[in-house]
């Protein structure tokens, strides 16, 4: 490899890390589908999946196998290339976001080698996520249009309009956070939230930006196309949504990408506002246990927070009714954007005059 003048050890390390993260997020997304069905069942006083394995734990595998072996149908009037590109893009963008999330603190081996538990510490980490999310809209739009079905087209246009509208409030609520952190790197943002309590106040950004967190959370619901904002899949109006014409694993890709997105946005929420892998008394724990165990504990802490967010998303889905489309747009443009602007000005003013 004369072309690549990079240390092969680094490439190998990153390759392993990326594979682990990718497989991990696929696994978590798989069990999120199981979790969703269980949560729905409990909320509706049912039992939920319980046939495949104990507690229905093998259900995701059975579902996946079923999707793989189903007949693959491409409609005659569909634009073939784009029809296939749509689900591929949806899956690709869903998997790409995990690259900049710091999954744990640096692990220093005994020989002094530093292993960063983050695939890429780019200095625009949060914007990278934003960019990938905004490109993710194409998966839905192309799929819906290429199916050559009116319902699919309407649904994909709904989804894209919703995503573009909510990106504004999303971005402005982030600006307020970034004014505080002074950095766009996910790692810096997490490091600043070290521990839980410092200098007489909480370190986690949630306690410094409660309004910003709220706006960010609502926008995540909209970006994820999840209830109460799942208008793209309103089955009573649109049959099923942009993936109406899809069958077999291409449908599976769309459905699965949604759960990967759910996992990643929970991770982003936990990282930006709930301290990432930081936890109370982490310095004491770090002093008491070895570095490897400490790293593992930190990763587990982050995963616990992520699973908490996933459960929250599910609880909301099964409790709130769906919004009407005009209500959705009104909420986005007339409530969230002014609120986000107010939050930004307030944060700016406080930084400028109160906490110099």
């Amino acid at each position: 490899m004369l072309l690549l003048q990079i240390d092969t050890a680094i490439i190998l390390e990153k390759l392993i890390l990326a594979s682990v993260i990718l497989l991990g997020s696929l696994g978590i997304a798989m069990y999120a589908t199981w979790g969703e069905r269980k949560v729905a069942a409990i909320m509706q006083d049912r039992i939920g999946p319980n046939r495949a394995g104990p507690l229905g734990l093998l259900q995701p595998l059975a579902d996946g196998g079923k999707l793989f072996f189903k007949e693959e149908i491409i409609p005659d009037s569909a634009t073939k290339f784009l029809f296939i590109l749509g689900p591929a893009l949806a899956m690709l963008t869903a998997c790409m976001t995990s690259a900049v999330i710091p999954w744990g603190p640096d692990y220093v081996t005994e020989s002094g080698h530093v292993v960063a538990l983050q695939v890429a510490d780019v200095n625009i980490g949060i914007l990278y996520i934003f960019g990938v999310v905004s490109v993710g809209v194409y998966g839905m739009m192309l799929g819906g249009w290429a199916s050559n079905n009116k319902f699919s087209l309407l649904s994909s246009i709904r989804a894209a309009a919703q995503a573009v509208s909510y990106e504004l409030a999303f971005g402005i609520s982030l600006v307020a956070l970034l004014m505080m952190t002074g950095s766009l790197s996910m790692r810096d943002i997490v490091e600043q939230q070290h521990g839980f309590w410092a200098d007489g106040y909480f370190t986690w950004n949630f306690f410094k930006q409660p309004l910003g967190f709220f706006i960010f959370l609502v926008c995540s619901f909209a970006e994820l196309n999840r209830a109460p904002f799942d208008l793209a899949e309103a089955e009573s109006e649109l049959n099923m949504g942009y993936h109406l014409e899809y069958s077999s694993m291409k449908l599976g890709f769309y459905l699965f990408a949604e759960y990967i997105n759910l996992f990643i946005s929970s991770a982003v929420l936990a990282t930006l506002y709930f301290g990432g892998y930081n936890f109370p008394f982490m310095d004491a724990v770090a002093a008491a246990v070895g570095p490897l165990l400490f790293t593992i504990i930190s990763v587990l802490v982050l995963l616990t927070k992520v699973i908490g967010f996933i459960l929250f998303f599910m609880f909301v889905r099964w409790t709130l009714p769906r919004f009407r489309y005009d209500q959705l747009m009104k909420l986005g443009w007339k409530s969230l954007i002014p609120l986000a602007l107010f939050n930004m000005l307030l944060t700016g003013g406080l930084i400028l005059w109160v906490f110099k």
């Binding site: 690549l4 960019g131 192309l142 990106e167």
Partner: protein, 168 residues
């Protein structure tokens, strides 16, 4: 050839190829998709110049928002290759001529310009900190004026949108 040059040529071929695809493809939707690929290739060039902020903003704003709106319009108008009106020869000729002249002017301007070439491999001019400093010190007036321009475009859109509202 080192890694940098390989990437540079790869991105250049993709950018020019997909830019040709924009004007050569018959279907407007594939034109838009080619344009998106072009934006990505250009963003790749920004990354090569270590201008990560510009790269990602190019993707967020152009590929992520503006091209989505383009797609909206084209998908709703249901333009197909066979429904495309045939333009007459005179219009085509005028297009070629004016495009050629523009190309010539740009070429002449580039050839005689005295701008120093950017040392591509070792510059941090495009990092967000340096960019922000430049924007808010040296170019603060043009920056603010362009924001007023955006505001007026927004107000214009609202006024146009309100026009057809029935009187109550």
């Amino acid at each position: 050839m080192n890694l940098y040059e390989v990437l540079f040529w790869l991105l250049t071929v993709v950018a020019i190829g997909s830019a040709l695809g924009v004007i050569l493809s018959r279907n407007p939707v594939s034109s838009v998709l080619f344009l998106i690929v072009t934006f990505f290739a250009v963003s790749g060039h920004y990354v090569l110049m270590n201008a990560q902020f510009l790269a990602i903003v190019n993707i967020i704003v152009y590929a992520g928002a503006i091209m989505v709106l383009f797609l909206f319009v084209i998908m709703l108008m249901n333009l197909n290759a066979d429904a495309e009106p045939q333009k007459n020869r005179l219009v085509q000729l005028a297009g070629v001529l004016s495009g050629g002249i523009l190309f010539l002017v740009v070429l002449a301007a580039l050839k005689t310009s005295s701008n120093n070439l950017l040392e591509q491999t070792a510059t941090d001019i495009g990092l967000i900190k340096n960019l922000g400093m430049t924007l808010f010190t040296k170019f603060v007036l043009p920056f603010e004026i362009s924001s007023v321009l955006f505001l007026s475009a927004m107000i214009g859109a609202v006024v146009l949108g309100k026009k057809g509202e029935p009187q109550k």
